[in-house]
């Protein structure tokens, strides 16, 4: 099963450059774990960094820096990579944020047919990482984005004006996009979402209720 919807090339470039906020980097790396084609793309965008590093001017290095390095290297135990124990239902980059897998999530009611769960990321980030569950056949209220939003489908599928998004697909939306996803029938749709601003709902009722739902 190959993903059909991928991150924008500028998002992959920012991932390679290391400038994405951590929640966005988690969503992109989880997508890459599910999409070899994007793994290949990131190898290419990493190369831009390698080429620019090679072309960097040379900053002055302290005379004692090399001795310090060699002494530290002597003192260092060589670590063997730890064996991977990722849960099968969650790709490795996400399992660190969701150690108990999807079964362990404590969902919070966030509106009719919609539940969310915030995932903890580092203090240094202002963006938010969350899981969003939309009941089979239910719709997410129509909303726009105050900022960048990445949505990766972990199970089920949804449809909006951009097409059908199934497992492994990633929706990469800018601040000017409005859409109304509807979960496909048969199975709840669970998504991993990174947002750097609150979602803005068009309906006045939902906007009023938004603080209660925590969206």
């Amino acid at each position: 099963m190959n993903a059909v919807h991928h991150p924008d090339i500028t998002t992959l470039m920012a991932f390679s450059a290391g400038t994405l906020e951590e929640p966005f980097a988690v969503v992109v790396s989880t997508h890459i774990a599910m999409c070899p084609a994007c793994g290949e793309m990131v190898r290419r965008t990493d190369l831009i960094g390698g080429a620019l590093l090679s072309a960097e001017p040379e900053a002055a290095i302290d005379d004692r820096a090399l001795d310090r390095l060699l002494a530290a290297a002597d003192a260092l135990d060589i670590e063997r990579p730890e064996p991977r124990t990722a849960r099968p239902d969650v790709p490795a980059p996400l399992s660190r944020y969701l150690p108990g897998g999807l079964d362990s999530v404590r969902w919070k009611f966030s509106g009719p047919g919609v539940a969310t769960a915030d995932l903890k990321s580092s203090k240094g980030t202002k963006a938010r990482l969350l899981l969003l569950k939309v009941g089979a056949g239910r719709r997410v209220p129509e909303h726009g984005h105050g900022g960048h939003e990445l949505t990766l489908i972990l199970s089920g599928a949804y449809k909006d004006r951009f097409g059908t998004f199934a497992i492994g697909d990633l929706a990469d939306h800018d601040e000017d996009v409005e859409h109304q996803p509807i979960a496909e029938p048969g199975e709840d749709c669970i998504c991993l979402v990174a947002v750097d601003a609150r979602l803005t709902f068009r309906s006045r009722l939902i906007r009023t209720l938004q603080p209660l739902f925590g969206l």
Binding site: T19, I32, G49, L53, S121, G124
Partner: protein, 199 residues
């Protein structure tokens, strides 16, 4: 591995190539034999460049020195895991330095990158992907970046070397975010033929 790196290039134009051959060889010596002379040599070639990148990304001189140390200790520790599938040596060291900056300067976690490494490597090995001529790749891409228009080169450099998020680049240059993205897209399109020709 040596078969991939013919070491017959000696003329001045090929300097970059020669360096890249040496770098892969140095990493192999570090990984296989814990060769400290090789680590010292690699440090001599790349540490000043890594430090320049750290300074551009906002580290003060002392922190930049520490992060350069940490970068090469990581190289020492992980050299065994380096394979040509991970890309050219310069690219591999760029990713190590980038991850350290995310952890120490931005106080975020580079774990999403680290956890992905194992997965990418496994799938590469399954697919039998091998980077041949990787010694030339870095040099070719560097040259191609120089051929970009000044506007396009500036956004690429600000993103990869100064580590400015796209919105901050827009603010710095005084152009809309959409223009930053379209310049990055065009820059990638210009580099694409080179980047796709890697294996």
């Amino acid at each position: 591995m040596h078969g991939l790196f013919p070491s017959t290039s000696a003329n001045a134009k090929m300097t970059g190539v020669t360096i890249e051959v040496d770098l892969a060889d140095l990493i192999e010596r570090i990984g296989a034999a814990r060769d400290k002379a090789a680590l010292a040599q690699l440090f001599g070639i790349l540490a000043p460049k890594v430090k320049s990148m750290m300074l551009k990304r906002g580290a003060c001189n002392a922190l930049a020195d520490d992060l350069v140390q940490e970068t090469f200790l990581n190289v020492w520790r992980k050299a065994e895991l380096y394979t040509p599938e991970r890309g050219a040596v310069g690219t591999w060291i760029f990713t190590i330095a980038r991850n350290l900056l995310i952890d120490h300067l931005r106080k975020q976690s580079s774990r999403p990158y680290e956890d992905l490494e194992g997965i990418k490597l496994e799938s590469d090995l399954q697919l039998g992907i091998q980077l041949i001529e990787q010694k030339q790749v870095v040099e070719r891409v560097s040259q191609a970046i120089e051929t970009l228009s000044a506007d396009h080169r500036e956004v690429v450099r600000l993103s990869f070397m100064s580590e400015l998020p796209h919105a901050a680049i827009a603010k710095r240059i005084g152009i809309p975010l959409g223009t930053v993205k379209s310049r990055l897209r065009l820059a990638y399109d210009r580099l694409r033929p080179l980047l796709e020709d890697l294996h």
